[in-house]
């Protein structure tokens, strides 16, 4: 009885700290919820049928059809992923299965460096070097190439983590049966890490769709067209927002925020799926 009374004020501090920690964790849910609600409310007037079906985007006339930008976002992200996935997998496999230990650390450093190059610097390089000196005009393809370079470190580091959970016994079993290194990779490593790699690729896809500044600088800012020609100038949702915000007035601003809402929803869906896949495969990897 006395002891518990003595501990009374300590328990208050304990409770207060716990409450603070819960509040900090809850902030994640609060911010995500508020993004969804505040932005949707603000963009509501612009979110009509025309927004999703029309290809005409003209601020002076107050017509806002976002279809070409939605297409451009998906198309550039697809180009980026197609370029980035084989390269990322190759690098991840090289680092985990082939590279001698002394080479691993510098290679991981290299990828870290690539990951911290700011996207605006890639954009600057794309505009002033790639398109001026190497003849890659501003287009879907140029944006896709730049985005690929930016998502390679993300996909590689996640794929590396997953691949490293492959049990040594499975790899040794393949080698003991006379498999070459590549056969060991296809027989043991890849089947084991399939799920995690899929998740990593989807995270890269989400990142490529949301990447703004580099895309805004090199994609070409085309209006009113949907094309599959990768060399044509295009546009994507984040690029439109970044490029047009400065001179936007009222209905125009609502339309730009509506673009952000659509972008938010698409990336959230992609990330939900990716996170679920990665977490499940990580759990299985640890359990095995």
């Amino acid at each position: 009885m006395q002891l518990s009374e003595l501990r009374g004020h300590k328990q208050y501090a304990d409770r207060a700290f716990r409450g603070l920690a819960i509040a900090a964790a809850g902030l994640v849910l609060l911010v995500l919820g508020m993004i969804a609600i505040r932005m949707t409310l603000r963009a509501w007037p612009a979110l009509g049928l025309e927004f999703f079906t029309s290809i005409r985007w003209s601020a002076p006339d107050g017509r806002f059809g976002a279809l070409p930008f939605i297409w451009g976002t998906l198309y550039t992200a697809a180009i980026a992923v197609m370029l980035a996935v084989p390269i990322s997998l190759g690098v991840a496999l090289f680092i985990t299965q082939v590279a001698p230990p002394w080479l691993k650390t510098p290679l991981v450093y290299l990828l870290d460096l690539l990951a911290v190059v700011p996207s605006v610097v890639f954009g600057l390089w794309g505009v002033l070097v790639l398109s001026q000196h190497f003849g890659l005009s501003r287009s879907f393809l140029t944006a896709g190439v730049i985005l690929a370079v930016m998502i390679i470190p993300i996909i590689t580091s996640l794929a590396r983590e997953v691949i490293e959970t492959t049990p040594a016994s499975e790899k040794e079993a393949a080698l003991a049966l006379g498999a070459t290194r590549w056969e060991m990779i296809t027989a043991s490593v890849l089947p084991h890490s399939k799920g995690g790699i899929t998740g990593a690729v989807m995270l890269g896809l989400g990142r490529a769709m949301g990447e703004t500044i580099a895309a805004a600088l090199v994609i070409g800012s085309a209006l009113g067209q949907i094309t599959v020609n990768p060399l044509a100038p295009g546009n994507s949702m984040p690029a439109v927002i970044a490029n047009e915000w400065g001179e936007a007035d009222e209905p125009h601003k609502a339309a730009l925020i509506a673009l952000a809402v659509v972008l938010f929803i698409i990336t959230i869906i992609v990330n939900l799926i990716a996170t679920a896949i990665v977490q499940r495969s990580m759990k299985r990897g640890r359990g095995a």
């Binding site: 300590k10 328990q11 304990d14 700290f17 716990r18 603070l20 920690a21 509040a23 900090a24 964790a25 809850g26 902030l27 994640v28 849910l29 911010v31 993004i35 505040r38 932005m39 390269i87 190759g90 496999l93 090289f94 450093y109 870290d112 460096l113 690539l114 911290v116 190059v117 700011p118 996207s119 605006v120 610097v121 890639f122 600057l124 390089w125 002033l128 070097v129 390679i152 070459t180 290194r181 590549w182 056969e183 990779i185 989400g206 990142r207 949301g210 500044i213 600088l217 984040p238 970044a242 915000w245 730009l256 952000a260 972008l263 990336t267 959230i268 990330n271 990716a274 996170t275 977490q279």
Partner: protein, 304 residues
């Protein structure tokens, strides 16, 4: 009979030689795939080297011409005017990044403490952990517009608006990296503290967090490096300025990334030069912070 073993041996040797001579498709394929992996590595190294080369060569000639004026002068208002000045942008980047750090690092650490020390596998903790991972994928431009709606519309442009947007980006990253570090703290340390009669909060503050500190510092530095290079969240929240503005909460400001973005599309060489100079400055900042993070990680690894 004496000839038989020798005969057998020679057949075996011949067969082995044959196998070696006939480079089977399997070994060729193995070599081919190794070659492709090395090619992939080169494809990663080439763009990095090319970007670094351009930034160092073109940025260096601008940023270090009559040093240190590039880092101290104000930004010329006319883009055709040659000459230095990124001082206000450096101040703005430092203000926004420091503000974001002061918000996101403590909140992120507390959130991770909840997830690992209190929540564990409870439903709420699992939901927060999952949503924090999802939140890392929210595009930075969405964060910028969100802060514009809830802050900038009411309080106007300032470095603090940028700090809020950057903090939203850093928060889930901080929670993720800190929780990983807390997981590495051996449970015996906590048990020893409880056995001495410490309360849970005291155990966390005086035992668990100090043990995980180097890893947490390293994670924070990586998050800071990423935030310092962000442009899109600042686009709607910081505004535009060409003069020094050391105030965190009032008046439009600028940042290195914003200056690179606006000068990159300029048709005039002086503005483009300033963009390269700003790019070099920004990359020096992010690289130094990243290397510091590596240093802390290395020390932590030594201790374990």
């Amino acid at each position: 009979m004496t000839g038989a073993p020798a005969f057998q041996e020679s057949t075996a040797t011949r067969r082995r030689n044959d196998l070696r001579a006939r480079r089977s498709w399997r070994t060729v394929k193995n070599q081919l795939m190794l070659g492709l992996m090395i090619a992939a590595l080169l494809l990663v190294a080439i763009p990095l080297a090319a970007v670094l080369w351009s930034v160092i060569v073109r940025g260096g000639s601008t940023a270090f011409k009559d040093f240190p004026s590039f880092f101290t002068e104000t930004i010329p208002r006319i883009s055709t005017r040659p000459g230095p000045g990124m001082g206000p942008a450096i101040v703005g980047t430092l203000l926004a990044t420091t503000g974001a750090t002061l918000i996101a690092v403590p909140v992120g650490i507390l959130g991770a403490v909840y997830l690992h020390e209190y929540g564990g596998t409870s439903k709420f903790a699992r939901l927060v952990r999952f949503m924090a991972t999802v939140m890392t994928g929210v595009p930075s431009i969405v964060m910028g517009l969100f802060i514009y709606l809830i802050w900038t519309l009411s309080f106007g442009y300032s470095a603090f608006g940028g700090a809020l947007a950057l903090a939203c980006l850093m928060l889930p990253v901080m929670i993720g990296s800190t929780e990983q570090m807390l997981r590495l703290v051996p449970p015996q340390l906590r048990e020893a503290a409880y056995a001495l009669g410490a309360t849970k909060s005291r155990t966390v503050i005086t035992v668990v967090l100090p043990a995980a500190l180097p890893g947490i510092v390293s994670g924070s530095l990586l998050a800071i490096a990423r935030a310092a290079g962000e442009t899109a969240p600042l686009l709607f929240t910081v505004g535009a300025a060409t003069a020094f503005n050391p105030h965190l909460f009032s008046e439009a400001n600028t940042a290195l990334s914003l200056q690179i973005f606006s000068n990159a599309v300029s048709a005039f060489a002086p503005a483009q030069d300033r963009a390269w100079g700003a790019a070099l400055t920004l990359m020096m900042v992010t690289f130094i912070v990243t290397l510091a993070a590596r240093f802390f990680t290395a020390r932590f690894a030594l201790k374990r």
